[in-house]
């Protein structure tokens, strides 16, 4: 492409930095706003994965409540014996596995579990009877309400239920979000002044103010959550450094071994009997100051045998530090020597690994307890609102005067954007609450029940897109927001009719997880009803046109360029 041509053609770049960034912000933001809205809303719901899962298994919740007033069962104290039972089980059932992991959990309600690496690859698991060491078969699937619970939202927000492909789509979208955030900040020169500006009921200006307010208020959170989200799969997204330093063959595997499995011994071929592991558990408890949760045995019955004891994070510990790393102490069993100790919140390899670990904890809010979860929930909702207001602002701005970006096709593109906005914002929200409805409406004995709940989520979402395309824009907004309000507000009633449970009963038995889900649904329902009413009373496009000139004269840089 010649330089001459470049000068002759007007590009966003020829108008200076701010205009170039405004262009980048608008167009990078628009195309990802729909998917990002979905990722942010489901990610925000993921904060309360456990309460949602709790609500979605009412039989379990009610069963739990029956035992709530009983004194907790006494702490199990026979760890030495249970360790031996698990070792016997592994020696009989999986002698060839080169890693045995035993959870002799002492806490009430926890039993005895064994995990191992299958010789052919993969992770095996068995729950054992803590008194006999016999494997427990979980055969009562028909009675339970099979569900993915809140994990559906977790899974969707990072891989869209699409495995590796989904991880890449979410990763690319998040990367574009970082670009949109930075270009948005550069565009927005009056960033702090505008933060204190809100002009309600002024059409385009109000949408812009709302978009700016939620974005600026929570900007550090949005940067943090996007960046730390990328970190989970960082070495898949950018594999070059791993390949450069670890060679092309098995690079990832060697890197992971270096990172997560420091000092794993190589098999020697000489036999060695497994000693009493309880004494090592006691030593490890002294070394790391935590109760032992997991016992990991490498190369069982080989002279190179190593045992690593992992601690158990107390909730109070996670109020004091961000890293969720537990303590860990390792021993070479041939000599009985301690080979490595990691204190709780520490790292095996150093600052970089700890940074990565802290970034994961920052993303998942695994620290700080319930108040932190609520803070994340609110910031996540603000991020969701940032996506939604941005997408709506794009059209509100162009409703007054088409900018003709797509030539003759412009009206069709605007119409498409309108459909996508409705299906992404109202439609996805409907899909989320429909997922909870499906949980109560799909019969308990249904085959592949958990899968059908997820199918209901996607099915409803597709229907909302179809509906948005078939109806006029205003009608579609009103109808979908109205449906959303109804589904949210009626959720407690649905629960009452299908399980007999209700807010009063939840309150009476102190079940704030279930009550929280229903109260939040009511709050979202009221918000949706308010939205539907606002759209219903909105001035028609023609009336809005008459008041437009006054707005245009006072517009800011961002509005001019966006």
């Amino acid at each position: 492409m010649s330089m001459k041509l470049e000068k002759a053609v007007k590009t966003p770049q020829s108008g200076g930095l701010r205009q170039a960034m405004a262009w980048l912000h608008t167009w990078s933001g628009l195309w990802i706003s729909w998917l990002l809205f979905a990722i942010f809303l489901t990610g925000t719901l993921s904060v309360f994965e456990e309460p949602i899962g709790h609500w979605m298994q009412p039989e379990h919740a009610i069963e739990e409540a029956k035992h709530a007033n009983e004194p907790p069962p006494p702490k199990v104290t026979d760890r030495a014996q249970r360790l031996q039972l698990a070792l016997d089980f592994m020696a009989k059932a999986h002698p060839k596995a080169d890693m045995w992991e035993i959870w002799p959990v002492q806490r009430p309600g926890q039993g005895l579990s064994a995990y191992w690496f299958q010789p052919q690859g993969g992770y095996g698991a068995a729950d054992l009877d803590p008194l006999t060491g016999k494997q427990i078969e979980h055969g009562h699937a028909g009675v339970q309400r099979a569900t993915q619970g809140g994990h559906h939202f977790v899974d969707f927000h990072y891989e869209l239920h699409a495995g590796r492909i989904g991880v890449w789509i979410v990763g690319i979208t998040t990367m574009i979000m970082l670009v949109a955030l930075v270009s948005g900040v550069i565009t927005h020169k009056r960033i702090f002044k505008d933060f204190f500006t809100f002009r309600p009921a002024k059409g385009q200006r109000s949408w812009l103010d709302a978009h700016n307010a939620v974005a600026v208020l929570t900007l550090p959170f949005q940067f943090m959550i996007a960046y730390t989200g990328l970190v989970f799969f960082a070495d898949d997204y950018v594999p070059a450094p791993v390949v450069a330093q670890y060679g092309v063959d098995n690079a990832k595997k060697s890197f992971l071994a270096d990172w997560n499995d420091v000092g794993k011994p190589a098999r020697s071929g000489q036999p060695l009997a497994i000693p009493d592991l309880e004494q090592f558990a006691l030593r490890a408890e002294q070394a790391i100051g935590q109760e032992i949760r997991a016992v990991v045995l490498d190369n069982p019955n080989d002279a190179s045998m190593r045992v690593c004891m992992y601690g158990w994070n107390e909730d109070s510990g996670l109020l004091e530090r961000i890293s969720a790393n537990t303590g860990r102490a390792c021993y070479a069993l041939a000599t009985g020597l301690e080979t490595a100790v990691r204190q709780p919140g520490g790292s095996d390899t150093g600052g970089a690994a700890l940074t990565r670990n802290v970034m994961s904890s920052l993303h998942m809010a695994s620290f700080g307890g319930l108040p932190m979860r609520w803070l994340y929930f609110l910031c996540g909702l603000a991020g969701t609102a940032m996506m939604g207001t941005g997408a709506v602002l794009f059209l509100v701005k162009r409703r007054q005067k088409s900018l003709g970006e797509f030539g003759a096709a412009t009206p069709r593109v605007y119409r498409l954007v309108a459909c996508m906005n409705i299906a992404a914002i109202a439609g996805l929200s409907i899909a989320c609450i429909s997922y909870l409805w499906a949980n109560r409406l799909i019969p308990i004995g249904q085959e592949l029940r958990a899968g059908w709940e997820v199918r209901a989520f996607f099915g409803v979402w597709c229907l909302t897109l179809l509906h948005a395309c078939l109806r006029s824009e205003k009608r579609a907004w009103i109808e979908q927001l109205g449906l959303l309000a109804a589904l949210c507000l009626l959720l407690p009633l649905l629960n009452l009719l299908t399980t007999g449970d209700n807010l009063a009963a939840q309150y009476a038995r102190g079940d704030w997880e279930s009550a929280g889900v229903e109260l939040c649904a009511i709050a979202f329902g009221l918000l949706a009803a308010w939205g539907a009413r606002k759209v219903g009373t909105r001035k028609s496009a023609a009336a809005a046109k008459k008041t437009a000139p006054a707005n245009i004269n006072r517009s800011t840089t961002m509005e001019n360029n966006a």
Partner: protein, 92 residues
Amino acid sequence: MKPVHMMLLSRVLAAVFGGYALTSGVAVLLSSILPLSRVEAVQTATLSAFVVYTCAVIWVFAVQDLRRAWLGMLLPAIACGSLGLLLARGAA
């Protein structure tokens, strides 16, 4: 395709693929020269990659001259990448 669309496409490609090449090149160099153990240097380089990518994309969309945008991505990408590979740590 109109010239303006060709130029836009070229710029987007420079940002996406040129930016990714630059990101990878810088990450390889960092993982080679940082005075840390191998696994720590690789971690640091990987964790920093998205800062590099973001800045690269912003820069590509900020400069006027499209040729400069392409060269600004590819030359440092090649320079950093090859220097990083030359200095790459052995299997130790």
